[in-house]
Amino acid sequence: MSSEVAIRVDNVAKRYRIFARPFDRLLHQLFGLRESRCEPFDALHELGFTVRRGETLGLIGRNGAGKSTLLQIICGTLTPSAGSVSVNGRVAALLELGAGFNPEFTGRENVYMNAAIYGLDRAAIERALPSILAFAEIGDFIDRPVKTYSSGMFVRLAFAVIAHVRADILIIDEALAVGDVYFTQKCMRFLKRFKESGTLVFVSHDVNAVINLCDRAVWLDRGRIARQGPAKEVCEAYLGSFYPDADTGDNDGGANVAGRRGGEEFGTGSARIEKVELLDATGRPLTLLLAAGRVELRVRCRAHADIADPIVGFFVKDRLGQYLFGQNSLQLLPGWTRIAAGASVEVGFAFHMPHLASGDYSIGVSVAAGSQEKHVQHHWIHDALHFRAQADPALTGWFALEDLECRLHDAGSDDVPA
């Protein structure tokens, strides 16, 4: 293996064999018998990729896609059923926080134990200890049993140890989800520094963190690699996969809501919203908002009966469902008085989208008829579209200010008249 390659995953597959009788499983493990008596479950189908030294790889995918299985195989805690993994360098993994921690023992004792597992001898641990304590910031709690720790303290200590074992390859699984913003930022700074010399494999549901941190990404879907390549591309494709017909091509990337199941909606049904799409300035579907800019929200609806005084409206909500902003066509299209039965129209709202704070957003749309005060909802969809925004994590509030300037004005000197 070339010394340029840190991790090579070669046609790795993982088949879990489910035996009705444990004894059969034992015979299978020891002598390879009883294959016919198991019910196989393929968690990973043959897949392969390489991670170059110094590269940062993000691993994304939905729950059950095989991310954790793959990580465990790379770490060596799981044995692949086929294929092989070669790892070039010392691996430290944070698969689940504080795995090696004994709750009865103090933080300090656990640090010694944990670091010893990673191959540090006593002298090395003693040298690293002050730095570990400084990173973990748990103060006097270091000499109390770990069972008295808050989950945040637990994470901080576990991460602090991992950060100091001088690994060549770091593998981090969802580790940062537990900590508070302050600690997450600290870990991110550490990981960014670590990237300069080491190889990092990072698993997260947080696509923003992956884009922020990783050069490349691998998207796993039901045990197969759905896509791999530059992190941003893969993440966008992954986000796009959450929309029903995103696979049909770039020209048709909106949500086809006509045949929606499960989504919350109501209305008389005299008019139906058939399609909603959010397009960026170049006319491509927008799934990831990285900067403020011109967007157009297109809502297509079909009337099943004559609709007089139609109104089409939308609203943008944050993750918690708070309405951020919205508008309807009543004032904007004063001359629009009718949709004939069977006709289909598309209303486009073009506006300047502010650069929203990082997170998930959804867009609700509706078609109604009447006036602002008195109207009938024909079709209302709570969450017709989703998109994600990524902004500077330091951003406070809901959106970033634009054209922000800061000037220093001379307000006169503070001379006291005699």
Binding site: Q29, L78, T79, G100, E104, M113
Partner: protein
Amino acid sequence: MLKQYLYLVYQMSRREIVGRYRGSMMGLLWSFASPLVMLAVYTFVFSVVFRVRWQTGGGDNASFALNLFAGVIAHGFFAECFNRSPALIAENAGYVKKVVFPLWMIPATVVVAAMFHMLVSLLVLLVCSALYLQQLHLAVLALPLLLAPYALLVLGVSWIFAALGVYLRDLAQVLPVVTTVMLFMAPVFYPVEALPEAYRGWMYLNPLTYVIGEMRALLLNGAMPQWAMLAKFTVAALLTAFAGWKVFRKAQPGFADVL
């Protein structure tokens, strides 16, 4: 690498030993106190209540109690490791699934910790022997030659049952019964000479019989080891340890799938 392993075994065993008394007021003193209390109870029950006498050697109460105690110590070491082995890996599932850890070390840790407790008990036994029987034999120095292969034997057995226990959970229920059978089918409460000749050979199928007999000989009778037998025992212990290692390594890749 070896140095790191040894350091890790040391850390783990220390944790195992200290952990048992963690939070108790007397701490490590308990490891002295409990064998002392056991010794007192044995003496009372068997020599005062039952009025049994050890058939060979000195017939007084102290001698009986110490002979009994030697047997209980040797059996206790085995019982401790053997009973815990099938559940060990499941108890430490975190080491299997969450970190890359030399799993063979987990049973080894238990053996080292049990060995520590056995040594403490033996120390109590020797002190009592010196106080009450006014005897302390030079043959005691040969004790490590017996204990080392004994520990290897127990380690091998622990590896085997730790590996099998992951797959066969029933073992955790079965082994304590086996341990109790071994207690009575070994000359713990009686000298092997108390058995009719015809049964003695069978008794030696239990490896504890040899260990207990030899331990009494070294500690209480001052006889030097029977070298030929010790050599055979050592070879058997090495073979058991090797077999245990093989079984454990073979079964290990499947642990994470089962737990």
